[in-house]
Symmetry: C2
Subunit: 366 residues, 2 copies
């Protein structure tokens, strides 16, 4: 099962509706870039790698929709689609990455026929989906190598197959460790306000048969202080050049508490999530979302707070690099000083990608 898929015979993008999980498994079809942007904004699909691929597929849909009769006209339509998709959510850099890969490709094909450009955009978005799975499994192997044979990990939000095309980032590491025979148990943060941990991570881990216990976010400190957590694993929506990691709200609290207990804190993120153009976390825009996410949890029409209450609802926070033990990428584990290590893996990824490789086997085996 993939979270998002391009269906060839219908030229449609199919996504699982993550808002309906775990109670219902519903698939939705998308025919336009506008619809894909809406799916990202409303969180039908979420997770940095997943929305990167969704945005790339959205660009391919825009090319198909376009009535352009020249390359220049097509580029104009793609730029409109770029803006619509880019505005869907501000924080995860994979969104920008996915759109820009497509725009660059279309630009490079200016001497090809329009049907060829369209076919190339579709092909590239499908390849990005395939590569995402390979990247995640590679990160899974790197990350699992950091964990002892018997291990209790704490996990925030959802970073599983549902947050990517398949397998997952931080949860992919957990899956790789489990499949690789490690004795792993996961403390699953429910992850208010949208409860991706309770709804999605618990569901995935139960499907995979990985031992787990769901907890309120508030309980994470109790388990860390009482010696029941050996490592914290999280994903990221954007990693700045200095290693500051922006991730789901609540991540920074976990990092500070992990530090207070000398528990290793690992960020698992592909190079497409590393943004060398952003120097530090302070420059990353933090999305503020609808107050109703806080006051009206799923299935609660009445709400949990007084009518008219004022609400703050930042969707992400910044974990300073000083609190991060290591960043796991598909090019290996990066340790402090992060600026140097991250530049190295991102530059290698760009060279390899230009040569048609998504993961350098030499680097992986090293």
């Amino acid at each position: 099962m993939r979270t998002i898929e391009w269906i060839d015979d219908k030229n449609v993008v199919k996504m699982i509706d993550q808002r309906r999980l775990p109670h219902e498994v519903v698939w939705l079809d998308y025919y336009s870039a506008q619809e894909v942007a809406q799916a990202i904004t409303t969180m039908v699909i979420r997770g940095a790698p997943a929305i990167g691929v969704a945005a790339a597929m959205g660009m391919a849909l825009a090319a198909l929709e376009s009535k352009a009769e020249s390359h220049a006209e097509l580029m104009a339509d793609l730029r409109i689609a770029h803006d619509v998709l880019y505005a869907a959510r501000p924080t995860a850099v994979n969104l920008r990455w996915g759109i820009e890969q497509q725009l660059t490709l279309a630009q490079n094909l200016e001497h090809e026929s329009l049907p060829q450009v369209r076919a190339a955009l579709i092909a590239q978005s499908k390849r990005m989906a395939d590569e995402d799975v390979l990247i995640n499994q590679t990160m899974g192997a790197w990350g699992a190598s950091l964990l002892p044979q018997k291990v209790n990990v704490l996990h925030h939000c959802n970073t599983g197959g549902l947050a990517a095309v398949d397998w997952g980032t931080a949860l992919g590491v957990i899956r790789s460790a489990h499949v690789g025979g490690k004795d792993i148990h996961v403390w699953v943060d429910e992850t208010r306000p949208r409860l991706q941990g309770a709804r999605l991570t618990a569901w995935e881990l139960m499907q995979w048969g990985v031992p787990m216990t769901l907890i309120a976010d508030n309980a994470a400190g109790y388990y860390m202080l009482s010696g029941q957590v050996d490592a914290v694993l999280v994903g990221a929506d954007r990693v700045a050049a200095n290693g500051d990691a922006v991730n789901k709200i609540g991540t920074y609290k976990l990092a500070a508490v992990a530090k207070d207990n000398n528990i290793p804190f690992y960020v698992v993120a592909p190079t497409s999530t590393v943004d060398l153009r952003t120097a530090t976390g302070a420059q990353i825009p933090i999305e503020q979302r609808d107050p109703r996410e806080v006051t009206h949890p799923d299935n609660d029409p009445l709400g949990i707070a007084p009518m008219g209450v004022k609400v703050g609802n930042p969707a992400f926070d910044i974990t300073p690099q000083r609190l991060i033990t290591a960043i796991v990428t598909e090019y290996g584990v990066v340790y402090p000083p992060f600026d140097e290590g991250l530049r190295k893996v991102v530059e290698q990824a760009e060279i390899d990608r230009a040569n048609g490789r998504v993961v350098n086997p030499a680097v992986v085996s090293g």
Copy 2:
């Protein structure tokens, strides 16, 4: 409005049903110790000072219910009530404190008539309620003196009038600061799983006209790291002799994050919450509550997690004394080393109580 009150003409204990707030204001009547214990277990009434008074009133009801014809028979019935009330919730020491005050009084009156003993138990429980308000207002004054003129505080759980008889502990400090003319704004942690912050604290602050913003617990780190919090104020369910504070789950995480940002972290607790018989927090029993509190938030019959998910639900955590800036009691502000300072205020409180005083004016003015 008081959270709990003894109604003389009916010999009944009246409580506001805190499970129904903020949507409905419903009062319930209790006629027996057994019913009061049930109200404590099911959280009709909660908050350390409030359940201390409730337990004392429960003992008075037990004396009224008793068919005893001798003092020895009455003591036997009171000891049964003691056990029933003591078992209602394990963590807050005020519960034990309230019951023991009553048991000691009854014991001391062994040469009085049974009607006189019953009347004395009723009178003492009513006096404990009155004194609770005075104690809270005194703590409010001490605590407010710690805050600058313009201040953003972060608050966890509910420690307001609803957690006490009236006024509150940590929220009482906020109320005193507001009434005293300070420019105070409160970040209100929603406090999963039972959402006392969203349901009760938001409601109280809105009634008092104190500026506030409700946030998911996960967002507290975002506001602290971005310089928008000047102090953290919490209550306690039990403070050990060394200063370790047991409080609502999630408190320890806040303390660690406050430390990471050099933000003062204040615990506001009356001397009845300080348990000199317990050396450190590690010896305090942590209540584990029903998994449904996590999986089925209020008004959500469907639930937020997959069917059959395994859940951990500790109701409290331990904040190590090394993370606490000061403990505010009705006898003044106690700074580290806490063991010495706490012993002093508790011993003074015991002397004063034996002399019929609840707060020593000399100490307060000092």
